[in-house]
Subunit: 343 residues, 2 copies
């Protein structure tokens, strides 16, 4: 029988629809294109070395020599720092001018790769770049919230194949972020404990949904997972802001994210996915009730009218089964990284 | 320049990204299949007359003679009334057994049609069926929220082509519904007025985003529209619950929805869309701050990591331009309805 599950840290409900359930391996769509197919370099790709749009570049790592990670402004930015900050109320309508930063983080000079095929160190470099850039944009007093996210594959909204993530820095805190923070604060006020710290304890105690543990992180399929193979990567130590992560935490994150994405890549034939880093608003980094994490959502089921009208996702898989499946996929830690020489 | 817009009745933000804007007519994808292509009857369609799954039928209209609208249980229901209601808390995890109703409203005996091609009267019959069925499931004391919605086309999540809507009756009020209600209640407490009534006044005063007016309804593109051609159909008279609509209101709704869907059908070549009816929770029908409406969302842009991480939609069109475009599409009131004779 189906059941409704709620995550009390976020208040979000899902329906675990076992009537429709498929076994985890049935989600591996045969014949999907893998990341290493095709050429290492594309003449028409704006992210490949030699094609760099210099006018849009905001940072490159390392600063000298050939770059490994590069940050560029979006060619068609949804927000721009050039705009003056203006606010206006007109009855029930409120507007803010489109002030902010909309940037692309090119994760590798290699066209046909992805985090699942890279070394842990290369994946770490991407997160280091996120943090470095976040500190710069947060120093703009107009910025209230910084979001890093990745769209992998067409169904997840990626229009370019070259591996890249995105950053959006906003002049306000999104309502959804406020609603989640309110839920976590209520839990803190009632229990004196961070809801995410409590959740980690629970997940580690039962172990049913844990996919991976490292020195600094626990990876699990949330109890109220929104979709098959939905994953949370949560730091063990209480920390509201991703952007305050110490170097060894970022190194561990690189290794963990690379392993988890490789499990998805191998186990489900390179599924399309999104990830988002849910970190505290710029001015709330000291909040004892906020705890950052990285959420990965494979794009396996389609959002339709029911989700739109209720905010409730129908998950046709059992989180516990998905966790067991991913846990069982062996990923050697020593795999050869994709080479970073470019054409 | 882009701008951020917030609807203070729902607190939802969107980015109106004019840098990426296309003109309204550019959203009409050429060569899309239209609803009246193909046969009027399909041997393999479970909704076509003669193929009815009798065991799943819960209602038909009219009760005697050939049916015009038929309600059946979902073959793979996400929720079922057969389950006993059980609630459980385990720390941060909360579950409710999968109690509820998940039903399909077959809108016509004709396979190759859709509301845009039907008579206003036939569309009204579908809404009458919604209301009749809602009263039955609301009499089950376990039901707290009833949602009617429609997925039209594959990108909107429809797997069967025969025109149909769905109903989901839930044993709790979704958090998202509560969050919206809280926003509306705050507005009411501060102003003494229903936020939606106030919004209607504003929209009618400026007229910039109004697509259509009828005796009982105003149709407009919301100021903070989540996507191109997003539409709200709002009753002029304050009413928390759709299910309490009088017969003449339902007749007008049938006519308005049919005209609006036909404008989309003609103007944008039968776009995929979802609609949802946002009505009050079962026990809140007397709330002075709730106001039901029907929201139509064409599935033109893809939801990706940014929307997932922030809850903010990026709308690459100007609501005012979309409204002007739809307003300008002439739909004769007297068009011939698709015939209801079946094979």
């Amino acid at each position: 029988m189906s059941e409704l599950r709620q995550n009390l840290a976020t208040k979000e409900w899902v329906i675990i629809a076992s009537e429709r359930a498929r076994r985890p391996h049935e989600y591996a769509e045969p014949g999907r294109p893998m990341c290493d197919e095709g050429p290492t370099w594309e003449a028409s790709c704006p992210f490949c070395p030699g094609n760099e749009e210099r006018d849009l570049e905001v940072a490159r790592f390392p600063r000298e020599g050939p770059w490994q990670v590069r940050i560029v402004g979006n060619r068609y930015p949804a927000l721009t720092p050039a705009a003056p900050l203006e606010r206006e109320y007109m009855g029930l309508m409120r507007r803010i001018s489109g002030v902010g930063y909309h940037e692309v983080i090119v994760e590798s000079p290699v066209h046909n790769t992805c985090a699942a095929l890279e070394s842990a160190e290369n994946v770490m470099r991407v997160f280091q770049a996120f943090v470095e850039r976040a500190w710069v944009v947060q120093s703009d007093p107009r910025i209230e919230y910084v979001l890093f996210f990745k769209n992998h594959g067409r169904q997840a909204g990626a229009s370019l194949r070259h591996p890249h993530a995105q950053m959006m820095a906003l002049p306000m805190v999104p309502s959804e972020v406020r609603v989640r923070a309110d839920a976590a604060r209520t839990y803190f006020d009632e229990s004196g404990q961070c809801a995410y710290c409590a959740m980690l304890e629970q997940e580690l105690a039962t172990g049913q949904r844990v996919v991976l543990e490292s020195k600094h992180f626990v990876v699990f399929v949330p109890y109220a997972a929104a979709s098959p193979f939905h994953l949370w990567i949560v730091p063990r130590a209480h920390a509201a802001s991703f952007f305050h992560s110490a170097p060894d935490v970022l190194a561990d994150l690189g290794s963990v994210v690379r392993t988890v994405l490789r499990k998805l890549y191998v186990g489900l034939n390179n599924p399309d996915f999104n990830y988002v880093i849910r970190s505290a608003p710029v001015r709330d980094v000291g909040a004892p009730y906020l705890h950052w994490y990285l959420s990965i959502v494979p794009r396996i089921s389609l959002v339709a009218g029911f989700e739109m009208g209720s905010g409730i996702y129908i998950n046709p898989s059992l989180p516990e089964e998905c966790a067991r499946f991913l846990h069982g996929i062996e990923i050697a830690g020593s795999e050869k990284a994709a080479p970073h020489e470019t054409a």
